[in-house]
């Protein structure tokens, strides 16, 4: 039996971090996929880009600061982190993120990158 090629999974984050659990639910999946050595990329689009903003502090409004865990992505081999440039521009944001290794992609490149993945989960 031949070993199948590992399937690339994309997790597409589309929600702002605090008023819904979507960001945390997506993070939990990312960490599990990472720890199972499942090649996984993280995409941030729409209000999902707020999850990456530098300087936010959820503890002020009693949110357990799950965004801090993003710093551990490298440890989980989650090294492909892409953000939609157009979404940043629409929100007046600059590429000022609270983690390293984020790649800002123009709309077309963002779309192309997403399309190399076999499975896409969106939260």
């Amino acid at each position: 039996m031949t070993q199948p090629l590992p399937k690339l999974t994309a997790i597409l984050n589309s929600k702002a971090p605090y008023s819904s659990t979507a960001g945390k639910d997506a993070l939990d999946i990312a960490l599990i996929f990472g720890s199972f050595e499942q090649p996984t990329s993280l995409f941030f689009q729409g209000d999902g880009v707020w999850q990456l903003s530098q300087g936010q502090d959820g503890t002020i409004i009693s949110v357990k600061d799950y965004l801090k865990t993003f710093a551990a992505f490298e440890f989980y081999d989650l090294e492909n982190i892409y953000v939609c440039q157009q979404s940043l521009i629409q929100r007046g944001l600059t590429a000022d993120f609270h983690i390293e290794q984020v790649q800002v992609l123009a709309q077309k490149e963002f779309a192309e990158k997403l399309a190399i993945h076999h499975t896409v989960l969106r939260f």
């Binding site: 399937k7 999974t9 659990t21 979507a22 639910d25 939990d28 999946i29 599990i32 996929f33 199972f36 499942q38 499975t119 989960l121 969106r122």
Partner: protein, 120 residues
């Protein structure tokens, strides 16, 4: 023959879940192999035995039960998401018996077993 996996994230009282059920039922009845359904986020509310939907409304859980029995369809419940919503597999257990208590590791399995994963 290609295999499918399905993720359900919407609650049993939403018409969005009827669509998910319709999709799964249609796939199974046309002979497509479904490696499993994974209930996540508010989808886990399906497993709560105490959910009581008025008898003149659509009974999602009865339909899932029929599919599970007829097609031996695995229905996986993310226990972390479930516990957050008042479900427990300890005494008193309030999880409907048609569900298999699982974790996110099971989702990794489903992604690997299936040719396509569809999220609802």
């Amino acid at each position: 023959m290609k295999k499918l996996a399905v993720v359900v994230t919407t609650p049993p009282y939403s018409n969005l879940s009827v669509t998910a059920l319709d999709y799964v039922e249609t796939a199974l009845k046309s002979g497509v192999e479904l490696v499993g359904v994974f209930f996540y986020q508010d989808g886990v509310i399906h497993a709560n035995q105490q959910v009581d939907i008025a008898s003149d409304e659509f009974q999602c859980i009865k339909h899932w039960q029929a599919l599970q029995q007829t097609f031996k369809l695995p229905l996986h419940l993310c226990i972390t998401a479930a516990e957050k919503r008042g479900l427990s597999d300890e005494q008193p257990n309030n999880i409907h018996s048609i569900f298999t208590v699982s974790g996110l590791g099971e989702l990794v399995e489903l992604v690997n077993k299936a040719d396509r994963l569809v999220q609802f």
